[in-house]
Symmetry: C2
Subunit: 437 residues, 2 copies
């Protein structure tokens, strides 16, 4: 027992596959509605508990935490400050904004005590507006942006495409507050750039798409769209310039010439991985959120809101990065940096050497999933590695043992290279650095 | 705008108080039921949204993340693997265990679609047992421990003592699975040690207290109790040995002689900051969770569960670490390591020097809250620093400017020392290292 559960000093950096709770399996979910859903379940990242509700297994948690780290980094770079608001929101605030009756995806919850009713938060304008109002008095306190990474709840009529549209899901939502519309627009553009950096670091090219403001605003909003057959939206976009519109609002439904550059327009299915809204004074009016300006008059605060679906992003990344064999994670979000395949581990010399290689990888500052299963053949182990999709595969076994070498293969390539164990660390760092560029 | 929201390259390491959304205030909550509640609100860590429901402000999020890091570290050291289960749990699983009707703190939620009902998870035996069952077939897959850090919901009759008892709160819950009771007991003892390390790193001396198993088990459970007037439990304990029992189950209510060592017993109020349960086969029986043992027979899995209230722990730490002036954070959970007080910043030379000191602190690898407010006096700034409770205060101002010195004061001490800026980094590292011992 002690060996199995506590024997590992480097638990966070090393996962031995023989002890992993995340295991690959050949079973497919009964109802497969997207490639990412199938791959994430088969590779042991997620488990569907019921329609639209999932558990993340250990490999899935690692990917989510990596995505959250990228998002925190970029939100912090805009000056956003992290808060954590409750999922239980008071009914009264939703009555105040009118969305208690109009938003049909609301989960409503009763307490047995004090005749209370709550909304399970699908978004947080109803909480964040009074919260920021309580602490902002003057123009000197603005601009201000707060964000949170939190679980959201939406009673979706049809929960489909696996983790891409769930009834419960992870989200980063940021809210910004400004003295006037000009200040809001400046921050809105900075947030747009930060969003594009987030998606780029996650290996996704997002199209900034004009869309309806929905229940948030009467103005045009911007959706960040990843083209994918698993998407539920259809966008019309120009291949030559940045023009993109959701067909929901587009006047160019017949795919005529691009209004910006006259090139041809295309249509395609897309997954909405983020959205940003110019809320204007809609919520500050309702909550009477004003500030004292330089000229001593009271003025309404301008607000923006900015969302990224964190668990949905896991699905969108897999939609964009897979082949017939499995997932191909971008480095920055991969659950581990290296996948060490140990072959012929029944032979004690090779087993010992594998442990040396393992420590070499860790010394390079990289995390590693070590397939240490005895009596499992090369074919099975390589198939498992391809399915799980860690970006660098390192193989140690009888074939390269006598030369003191290991074999390195990038998940996205077909060729392998052989390096000595002493060269390994340097080579790994080079591969990771190349990928960053 | 750009300066204010994006001008900081070291945003995560430096918070300029003038831009901070977390601000100290003199207002007290209307209904103050505990010292921690008052201090956390006044110092700008939390905001009460309604009874038992809180928002964490940026300083509060930092403390929570630090606590979570300590917990992850210690849970990983037991071999626990992190998962993330949903808050929405299917009604059927709760009907199966009988707790749909017996657990009166359940929040129940209806979906408009498919006539579904959910429980908002107050605990996760109903999810984790089928989840682990789906992936464990043989004795070779055991023992196994999974944990999550997640928001929990309980419809408490009276939500009181601020963040210590909420209707929505953060929790780490771990579940372990074993081939027999002996293996469970071994892990249970390891988990107990890991829990004591968590609390010790958070600056809390916890008493391991025998208690009722409540809705979880008919066996005795163990509660981790922090003595405090804000506590809702009363425990009877020996000052000389480790004997401690919740008076709920104790036969020693009259505070007679300790049954272990014959010394005197005492009683005291205490906050329950953690609990561990030997669940035996209670949940594996209900969900028919068996494994194939070495002798090829099918046997029931033994289970344990292990909880720590993460947001409650914030309150418990403050109860244990405060004085008349404010909070005194232990180093490992403090929102920032250093609090730089800038005085006389109206003088440009001093302002420039303060920026140099700021960079020195960051170069030492420490994070810093910089009170950069102009035209605020020393008295106000020191009072704010005492209230917020960051463990090391560094002051730069006219008084030490000509000698090229700064003043260092540990929050818990009254004396100050003066050091030159070139000595600062070394001295800070020494203070932090001393605190670790």
């Amino acid at each position: 027992m002690k060996d199995k559960l506590t024997g590992n000093q480097n638990w966070r950096k090393i996962l031995r596959y023989s002890t992993s709770f995340s295991r690959a399996s050949k079973e497919s979910p009964k109802e497969v509605t997207s490639e990412s859903h199938k791959l994430l379940i088969r590779a042991g990242y997620i488990r569907q508990e019921m329609a639209g509700v999932f558990s993340l297994l250990p490999l899935g948690v690692k990917v989510l935490k990596n995505i959250e780290t990228v998002i925190r980094d970029e939100m912090d770079s805009t000056g956003g400050q992290e808060v954590l608001m409750p999922a239980l929101e008071p009914k009264q605030n939703w009555v105040t904004t009118g969305r208690w009756d109009t938003l049909d995806i609301l989960f409503k919850v009763n307490s047995r005590y004090g005749n209370r009713e709550y909304v399970l938060g699908p978004t947080h304008e109803e909480i964040v507006t009074p919260l920021v109002k309580s602490r902002v008095k003057s123009y000197k306190d603005l601009p201000l942006a707060v964000y949170q990474i939190q679980t959201k709840f939406r009673d979706e009529p049809r929960a489909k495409s696996g983790i891409i549209r769930g009834r419960e899901f992870g989200m980063k939502d940021m809210y910004s507050f400004h003295v006037n519309h000009e200040s809001l627009v400046t921050f809105y553009e900075q947030a747009k750039e930060a969003y594009l950096r987030v998606f780029s670091r996650c290996g996704i090219t997002a199209k900034v798409t004009e869309a309806s403001g929905g229940d948030f605003t009467k103005k045009i909003s911007h959706e960040f769209m990843a083209l994918s057959d698993a998407g539920e939206d259809i966008i019309i976009y120009c291949d030559s310039c940045a023009f993109a519109q959701n067909t929901e609002i587009s006047k160019h439904k017949d795919a005529d010439a691009c209004p910006s550059c006259s090139h041809n327009l295309r249509t395609g299915k897309a997954i909405e991985i983020g959205n940003i809204f110019d809320l204007g004074t809609k919520f500050s009016e309702v909550f009477d959120f004003t500030f004292t300006d330089k000229d001593s008059t009271r003025k309404l605060v301008y607000m923006g809101c900015y969302g990224i679906g964190t668990t949905r992003l896991i699905g969108a990344i897999v939609e964009a990065h897979n082949d017939g064999k499995g997932i191909i994670w971008p480095h920055e979000v991969a659950p581990y940096s290296c996948h060490l395949v140990g072959l012929n581990l029944e032979e004690s010399e090779i087993k010992e050497r594998a442990e040396v290689v393992l420590q070499e990888i860790v010394k390079s500052g990289l995390s590693v999933l070590f397939d240490d299963r005895p009596n499992v053949g090369a074919g099975d182990k390589f198939a498992t590695a391809d399915l799980i999709g860690i970006p660098i595969r390192i193989t140690i076994g009888r074939e390269t043992f006598t030369e003191g070498e290991v074999e390195i293969k990038r998940r996205e390539d077909s060729e392998t290279i052989k390096v000595t164990i002493s060269e390994l660390s340097k080579r790994l760092v080079t591969i990771i650095e190349d990928a960053r560029e």
